[in-house]
């Protein structure tokens, strides 16, 4: 017992004396801007490093792209007709002033908004109810399992037959793409709810409805948001495919049309626009998740 005490003694007392000696210093004179900047740099060093490397890596990607297209490299893969980054940038500056391009983007966003929102409005409550009531689960689950493996794109011909307008069938395909990930993840979240929390709520006087609202629903939220994130990704995949096949407008149609019209720079522009839109929408969902689940904020 005595040796650890002896060992600990100097460690314990040293910081105390150190504070006593330097303590009044920082209080009297606030640290200079230079020291603050240095401290900030030390605390965020690894983050800054990641940003620096990330930017370098993106620049390197652009450089390789530039070189491959400028020298029209053919090595199994043919870069003969691939547009250079500068050409894509030129068509980008032209496109942002072109109301038609903006309309393509807005239409795609609207289709995503409607299709995805419908999927969330139907999928989340259905998943919650299926998770809570065995009979509903037993009735709906087999049908869902049969339909789920069918890719949304495979629905295109059927969707065109089912819906009176092209617009509706595209929205329907977007809906289908995001519906199943949302449903399955919500259901999964429901099965993982800790039964002890349900019992805790019961012996605090909670009835069925309150237990659903106060326990099952918030406990499933993390999985619901996983479903929404995955669903949003699949929604874009389905939308772009549907637009390429049957659309008249939309960013997927724009990209395909650019190929038909031999405007190669616009192909890359369309692709990049799709990527940026997909990234933006998944960031939106992540932000919404942090707002709805403050207890999970790190």
């Amino acid at each position: 017992m005595s040796s650890p005490a002896i060992l600990r003694h100097p460690e314990d007392s040293m910081p105390a004396t150190a504070i006593a000696e330097t303590g009044p210093g920082p209080v009297a004179t606030p640290p200079s801007f230079g020291t603050l900047a240095l401290r900030w740099y030390r605390l965020n060093r690894s983050g800054l490093r990641a940003i620096a490397i990330g930017i370098t890596s993106l620049l390197a990607f652009l450089l390789v792209w530039h070189l491959l297209t400028t020298y029209r490299v053919v090595f199994f893969v043919r870069f003969t007709n691939v547009p250079s980054p500068l050409a894509v940038y030129a068509s980008f500056t032209k496109a942002i002033h072109d109301p038609k391009f903006l309309m393509h983007i807005l239409l795609s966003c609207r289709r995503i908004l409607v299709g995805f929102s419908l999927a969330a409005i139907v999928g989340v409550p259905l998943g919650l109810v299926m998770g809570r009531f065995k009979l509903v689960h037993e009735i709906i689950f087999p049908v869902a399992e049969v339909l789920r493996p069918i890719p949304a794109i495979a629905w295109v011909p059927m969707a065109i037959m089912l819906w009176p307008t092209n617009e509706q069938s595209i929205v329907y395909i977007t809906f289908l793409g995001s519906f199943f990930p949302i449903l399955v993840n919500t259901l999964h979240g429901m099965t993982l709810v800790d039964p002890v929390l349900v019992r805790a709520a019961q012996c605090l006087g909670a009835r069925e409805r309150s237990i659903f609202r106060e326990v099952y629903y918030p406990a499933s939220l993390p999985h619901i948001f996983t479903g929404l994130t995955v669903g949003m990704g699949v929604a874009w995949v389905s939308l772009i495919a549907a637009e390429m096949i049957s659309g008249q407008y939309g960013i997927g149609y724009f990209t395909w049309e650019a190929y038909s019209l031999v405007q190669y720079a616009d192909i890359a522009l369309g692709m990049i626009a799709i990527g940026v839109l997909g990234l933006g929408s998944s960031l939106l969902i992540r932000g919404a998740g942090q707002l709805v689940m403050p207890w999970r904020a790190k």
């Binding site: 800790d194 929390l197 019992r199 805790a200 012996c203 309150s210």
Partner: protein, 290 residues
Amino acid sequence: MSEIPAKAPQGHIEVRSFSLSYDSIEGPVQAVTDTQIHVKPGEFVSIVGPSGCGKSTLLNAVAGFLKPTTGIVTVDGERVGGPSAERGMVFQQYSLFPWKTVRENVEFGLKMRGMPRSQRERAARTLLGLAGLEAFEKHYPEKLSGGMKQRVGIVRALATGPKVLLLDEPFGALDAQTRVIMQQILTNMWQRLKISVLFVTHDIDEAIFLSDRVYCMTARPGSIKAEIPIPLERPRQQSMMMSSEFLALRRGLMSLIREESLKAMGGEINDLGMRGLNIELHGQSLAEVL
């Protein structure tokens, strides 16, 4: 204290000719058999026993989560039909709602009762003050230590002014120092609120230190093997745990439990086939060796 819903000191728990069995592929399995226990209003009673003896099963039946196969459970003469806010429960796993702040957790029972927000906020703050947790009212449970979590758990169970408080190994997951402090806090709250307590634990010291009476259960199928009154005076101090009176009680309970634990383990060890493990018992029985 005025904020805490005042209730007449009631909470008489009666468990009569209680047995509980559940179905399995090999037929019904008896978890608890032929058990009678009672807790008088304002009394602190513990149940101890070897692991798997059915003490938690018994507690869950009093809470209303399990239905007795035979027999009856009543509180103040009323038959227990299901869980209710009249019987507050504290769980070993804390079971705080992670999505609610400390104060919202404590408010939960009052919210279920339909108390207006401002009123239940005030009540929750008062209760948190009693447990020394005011500073943490806006924290989420994840950020708290085990001892703090369980203090919130106890306060949450007490907020609705239940007639009885049921605790299922509430301090089992805490370290020894924290456990001692929690025992002191629980005793203080119990004495101020004059509530009946049924406390399940496998810790003999804990049971003696806290209780007016201790029930000792047999190995599975569980039943009451002995009922031991604890005549130690109150308020109890940590120093009492060294007194000869305490140690005598401890020895008595210890030997009762050891007997039952050996019975429980004996069965298990036979099942596993000790011979295959090459353990030589030198002709002695397992009980003698242990």
